[in-house]
Symmetry: C2
Subunit: 414 residues, 2 copies
């Protein structure tokens, strides 16, 4: 059979049958309208979107592509691989093949009638080599870093998007419940993590946690027990764990888990591209008193953040309040990391990527808005001993918030 025929006639039904949720045309239209509004505000005449999750957001396909969006006229999706599949997945009308970026100006001129004089690019991640190539290909054009706009349009999630995060949270709930059946003394952190992940995948978890960064790698196997929980590593996290090697020095290790230790499980799930993030504590037998107390403090801080979560609340102010509360509770030197290594956020936006807006963090002076989704994750770290924490993903609603990771908050004791 011809591949093109199969894709045109059978991909859609097959994929639907296997649980694919295609991005509706109205979603794409609404996103593009918002995108253009900000482009105009910033004097950007056209945007060349080259990063996968960015053009997926604006086109509905993650096929290897580049998306050209002029402020006036229709967007042009140029596909390297696989063209026919992109045509099935994307509601956009203009989807054409591209073999080499050298024909970019030609394709754009053919589509739009002219070349842009001010071109937006995702300069936060676009490789320098590609940037210099575009400078050559569009002589006379001015280039603007449009990545702040991309972040801005993605910070408010539509009901369609929130629903996908909610479903990711439902996968998470099943994973944690299964964790109680899997965990046993003497099992290594990474074995436990791998089995949790297998359960998540069985339910449709996509495995990769995406993050908007060059060197930061997200992963779902952040299982730290006792001493490994007290170790800070490369990641912008209160504790990174020991990991598996100098090449991957974060997350679960081959350490075996013992009775009464705090076992922190920070497990992100991804459904249809959308992530939910949550953390719970496990223990084999009763967790040692010191950690039970610290976990109680984390829950108190978590609840304090949520009690302030409503439209208009200032993200920086919420964060600062948690510092005061942590100090009052006696955890000034262990809240969010050991002294000198404490991170300066207790919450981070989440959606197609980790680290979207908003940040509940130092210096983030902007208000929460309905449709923002973020993970709140107070953690307490004792070097040489272990760490505890809780994390939920929430959406800001008109009057407050909804937890998208509705799972019991007590320690999972086995």
């Amino acid at each position: 059979m011809d591949h093109r025929d199969w894709i045109q006639n059978h991909l859609f039904e097959n994929a639907k049958g296997l649980g694919f949720i295609f991005v509706p045309k109205t979603e794409i239209q609404e996103r593009l309208a918002r995108f253009r509004k900000y482009m105009k505000r910033d004097g950007i005449e056209a945007f060349l979107v080259t990063r996968k999750m960015d053009y997926f957001y604006l086109s509905g396909t993650a096929q290897d592509s580049m998306l050209y969006v002029p402020t006036e006229g229709s967007p042009l999706l140029m596909v390297r691989r696989e063209l026919e599949r992109a045509r099935v997945e994307s509601p956009l009308a203009d989807v054409v093949p591209i073999r080499s970026s050298s024909i970019l100006p030609e394709l754009i001129r053919e589509h739009s009638g002219n070349l842009p004089s001010v071109l937006g690019l995702e300069m936060d991640l676009l490789p320098a080599r590609d940037y210099l190539r575009y400078v050559d290909l569009f002589p006379g054009a001015r280039f603007v870093d449009g990545s702040p706009i991309i972040k801005e349009i993605r910070k408010i999630k539509s009901p369609f998007e929130v629903d996908l995060i909610r479903k990711a949270g439902e996968i998470g709930r099943e994973v944690y419940s299964r964790g109680k059946e899997i965990l046993r003394e003497g099992m290594s952190e990474i074995e436990f993590a791998g089995l949790l992940e297998a359960e998540a995948k069985r339910l449709g978890h996509e495995g990769l946690l995406r993050v908007r960064s060059v060197n930061y790698e997200a992963y779902s196997w952040h299982v730290l027990s006792g001493v490994t929980g007290g170790v800070v590593s490369q990641s912008d996290s209160p504790m990174g764990g020991i990991g598996l090697s100098p090449a991957f020095p974060v997350g679960a290790s081959l350490k075996t888990m013992k009775a009464h230790e705090p076992i922190l499980v920070d497990f992100g799930t991804c459904y249809q591209g959308y992530q939910a993030d949550e953390t719970r504590m496990f223990s084999i037998g009763k967790m040692d008193r010191k950690f039970l107390d610290a976990y109680k403090a984390c829950r108190e801080i978590h609840d304090a953040v949520l009690s302030q979560t409503r439209p208009g609340a200032d993200c920086g102010a919420i964060f600062r309040d948690t510092l005061n509360l942590a100090e009052k509770l006696g955890y000034k030197d262990s809240y969010l990391g050991p002294p000198g290594l404490q991170v300066r956020f207790v919450g981070h936006g989440i959606g197609l990527e980790l680290g979207e807006l908003p940040y509940i963090a130092e210096g983030q002076s902007y208000p929460l808005e309905p449709g923002m989704t973020f993970a709140v994750e107070p953690k307490i770290v004792f070097p040489g001993e272990g760490s505890v924490g809780i994390e939920n993903t929430v959406v800001v609603t008109r009057n407050g918030f909804e937890i998208l990771t509705p799972l019991e908050q007590d320690v999972f004791e086995v």
Copy 2:
């Protein structure tokens, strides 16, 4: 306990006990010497290495850092997080903290006495925003894309590195053996893949497969059965599968596996940062004749590549020979993909990342050298029906090659 004290006094022994293999000082010295030789050849006075696997290769640590390597004088490792851990992991002598790239010139001047006039950067992946920042920070300097040098120094693996790939291959062998016990009719591709991954992780597999690219995401759950094996997707691969959603349209899907279908399992493993890649066929009951025949052809092509694998053999010529052989065997229109979508390589270098040198591919006119490691993966694709293939990772030796993924090559029939 103080975090610094714990790292200084306990990390090394704990990590060793958990299987960490630290990069020996002699390895780092040898790599730096090679790096400097090429830098001098290309007139690069100093190199600012900012990509994680690149500075890991040259320093032994993957902590969040930047590595400054002048052609004369000692390298300077500047660490954002976590400094003390980098000091334990890296054999380099000069390891200092850095909070912001704005103090880069100051740190470099302090260390080297002067600023470079020709600075090498990894322009293939360095974000444009960072590049423009360096242009500001080092006025008057000329910037050179040094990424080809990085690829060049990494293309020959030392015995230390080959040994780690060999161990990754040993994990793979156990994973495939376990696969025979796990696979059953009615299981979904992704459930099977997740359980294979859990087994690999239990044995120390690091989960992330790294690749030198912006939008290309590698993953180990490439399990395709029957019809999904005939689907091409975004990846530069003969077939991508259906995947789990439009946001992740490659790899295993929720499709359940049936008797007699070809089940292709392309599973990469990663040990201490080093990857091995291999593919085998599974089937429930006897695989249909058409696929058995095609698999036989893949093995013949695989063996033909290996029969030519020795120092001096031309990579492009080896590839072209496989095209002729595939045609002779009757698979001209299905070898390496469907017509119009066939990929132009049958092998790719492998090490810390996928897609290192060499490529056994069209237009790659250079000879194999001892110490090169690559995966050879002939595959045959029938749209609407399925695909088959075999893959092994090999190292080029003085007289020929050694397979680093020594696993039986017959179909794993359950």
